[in-house]
Symmetry: C2
Subunit: 243 residues, 2 copies
């Protein structure tokens, strides 16, 4: 008997993603990590740098899922409003945090460099724990079940490494990918029968095109290695029978 796995959502904050100017790679990186440690990522949302939108999404997601991981909007410029929006969502105050100021001083030893803009990055909601930023020092933070991380992918990745030990580790979700060498429509009916015979396993079918034409990857997923192996064997037998 395993405990119910923890659930999570990712909230990506940034006009640049919604304008199509920047492609979000952070949510895919987080998704892969959560799968490795057995946390169920249930939802990703992308919202603009807009206080009302951030507050509403954050409050919806943090009430529903065990963890919410945010990326973006914690830099030094006027359009970085994530920290203030998180404080508002939680109904707590926010101010320059002495621990965060100290971290910035490590990087900006000359007081002239630690200007008003950079000091904005030390604004942390009251009651939050800091998330270390080994790349550029300006920290992220955690408030209850919400983890607030940077948007620059290399910094986000470093912060994700910092918080990974803090998340509940469930049985990892194992998966096996089987290339069908068949069109999806030719395997749909027998594949549905395999799925029906293995209700505890999730079987997904992912069509793709390459130079050879249409093909399909069948992905079998489960936390139970034996159940996974049994279902994968049945998928392979089904495919062999079609040839």
């Amino acid at each position: 008997m395993t405990a119910t796995p923890a659930t999570a959502a990712v909230l990506v904050i940034g006009d640049e993603v919604l304008s199509g100017r920047t492609r979000d790679t952070n949510s895919g990186h987080i998704a892969a990590r959560l799968t490795e440690i057995g946390v169920d990522l249930k939802e990703v949302r992308v919202v603009a740098d807009d206080e009302a939108a951030i507050v509403e999404a954050l409050n919806a997601l943090r009430a529903r899922y065990a963890y919410v991981l945010t990326t973006g909007g914690i830099g030094p410029t006027h359009d970085d409003i994530t920290a203030d929006s998180v404080a508002k969502a939680f109904g707590v105050g926010i101010d320059h945090d002495p621990r965060a100021v100290a971290m910035l001083r490590e990087r900006f030893a000359d007081p002239a460099d630690l200007n008003e803009g950079r000091l904005r990055m030390a604004r942390i909601p009251f009651g939050a724990d800091l998330i270390a930023n080994p790349v550029s020092k300006a920290p992220g933070f955690r408030l209850e079940n919400v983890f607030v991380m940077a948007g620059v992918p290399s910094i986000m990745a470093a912060m994700l490494d910092e918080i990974t030990p803090l998340l509940a580790h469930g049985a990892p979700i194992r998966s096996e990918t089987i290339r069908a060498d068949a069109k999806e429509g030719d395997i749909a009916t027998p594949l549905a029968a395999v799925q029906k015979a293995h209700p505890g396993v999730a079987i997904g079918s992912y069509p793709y095109m390459d130079a050879e034409g249409f093909n399909t990857n069948v992905v079998v997923r489960s936390r139970d290695a034996d159940a996974l192996a049994a279902a994968a064997a049945d998928v392979r037998a089904m495919l062999a029978a079609l040839r």
Copy 2:
């Protein structure tokens, strides 16, 4: 006086994105297109192949935005439940659509090839218009303000081309990207002043790292070409004064 621009949301449907196995490129492609035609993309959500999750997200988004564009889950296999979920969200019936069956017959002339799985792709909610699929024939569909498209990127792109003329075309959102050759923290304070002087223009600051170290792109966005030019000139003058 321009009309208020139309708003939109993208709903990406698929376990494979949430598991991190597949990186979603469709939402970025749609975002860029909507920006080109002057539609404001306000939100992107990614949910699992789960009927309750799809229905809830779809009903929330279609009530709030002028358009909802979905991708994924309209293939032939058991895990493709988008069409049925859309019908449920709208409270309408769903069945094999003769127009959709005719489209599939174009591709699968031999009745043996038009099997039960492939016929699933002709299940269309009552009252929907079809969206042609020039790549592999199985259509998407439109029901009121919801456009349901495939998840395979090449097919999604073709369907997006089909529906683009049906969307309201606003003044395109113009943008100009100015490389600061400065760290974000060194320009934050004067950049905020430029933003304050140009309230009708959105100025975003996007830090990045390359082999030279930290740098920043400043992106000025507006539907008004003159306002954009004036703000961009002020950003350039501000940056020049810092050197």
